[in-house]
Amino acid sequence: MSGKQFFIDRYKQLGWQYKPVELRQAIRINQMNNEGKNLIERLENIGTKLEKITFLQQGYWVYNPKVSVGATAEYLLGLYSIQEAAAQIPATLFSILKGKQVLDMAAAPGGKTVQMADYMQNTGAIVAIDINKRRLTALTNHLERCHVTNTVVYQLDARNAPKMGYKFDRILVDAPCSGNFASDPIWFKNRTLQDVERNARVQREILAKAVECLNQNGEIVYSTCSLEPEEDELNIDWAIKKMNLEVKEINCPGKNGLTKVFGRKLDPSIERCRRFWPDETQGFFICKLGRHNT
């Protein structure tokens, strides 16, 4: 069960007609490093045309840059980060971050960690964990470049997070996933349904551990860049039924989460999740969870 046509047929059953897409490059301004820096003007002066992303406060589309946006002085000084537009959304969904104790599970390469630290203005604390040491080095370079000072990083499998013995007010589960064709040109060639099911199992294990680390009134934001419902709506349906979680309302673009998947009816509250079929952004799935009745 693999191949381009197999997956395209699945998407059709889920209500989306496949089309090839070309992603737009996006950046996110790091607010805390930008006081009086005239960043937009500085980037435009070096030939980088920017357009505000309507659904993001600090996000901008980048047009035909004359220089690589990953090699400007402003980038190296941490004034902005290169971050795909949909990937900028998860951190915006937490109700309050300033002063909170935050866990970032599967944090590397750190785009969302830096974004949360920016919203927190380096207050509170973030514990960022990832299993891969090489990716942790990229994460810590990112933290240094963007002047993040409120984060503690551990090399740790997210499924071992409760062993740290800490509880958190906010937990980001940007789960390791199968990805999608929009950001991986050989995705259809490489992926099988078995991969998807295996990843979905790992994601459920991570989500279960996130719940163990969550304070009573805490919030979990769950996201993947997978289009496959096994990693998205079906996992959330499982979390509602087995983990006593509920899906919270979010004010965010995207299509409502699917409540009927391949003939199976899911919890109606899954409609509050958001699904991004690839278009200007890559494919993405996001939702906010809390304990039932909190």
């Binding site: 002085a73 190296l76 933290l143 240094e144 000072t149 503690v152 090399q155």
Partner: protein
């Protein structure tokens, strides 16, 4: 004694820094400054924590760019303000020619350490004064590059 290497380095740039020693931790030759909020979250096995100050390699202290930026905010810091082109070349690892210097602050005597700052006040790195600043010709190197933010790109290539 943990803070000694850091405060000594800051002094070479004309800045007197004070730290609460109890909040400085070391891991694999790297120094980090913690605060009361993150201190309880730091176990022996941490990979990175709080404010990265720099690392010691072969007995020599190399400051982080967070520390350099912090020093650049202090009025007493030795620094040269450079023009746009010079700033870009410095980030690419090049030395600073006198003609690219717009302004100097603090000590710019030969062998002094100086921060290299762009016209917006951003700290691009630091270097060492290579020749008597006042005597140097406009096409003479006045600051030898020691470390610059272009290092982030060089590190990425190594990953």
């Amino acid at each position: 004694m943990k803070a000694q290497e850091i405060t000594d380095f800051a002094l070479q740039l004309g800045v007197k820094l004070g730290f609460n020693e109890e909040l400085i931790v070391q891991q694999s030759g790297r120094y980090y400054l913690l605060n009361e909020t993150i201190l309880p979250l730091v176990k022996d096995t941490f990979f990175f924590a709080g404010e990265f100050l720099g690392k010691v390699k072969d007995g020599r202290f190399f400051p982080s760019f967070i520390l350099l930026s912090k020093l650049a905010e202090k009025g007493s810091a030795n620094r040269v303000v450079v023009d746009k082109k010079t700033g870009w070349l410095f980030i690419c690892g090049r030395d600073v020619f006198k003609k690219g210097v717009l302004k100097t602050y603090g000590s710019v005597n030969r062998k002094s350490f100086v921060l290299v700052v762009n016209e917006f006040g951003d700290c691009l790195g630091f270097g060492r004064i290579a020749s008597d600043f006042d005597q140097a010709g406009k096409n003479e190197v006045v600051v030898q590059n020691v470390s610059d933010v272009g290092d982030f790109l060089r590190r990425e290539r190594g990953l």
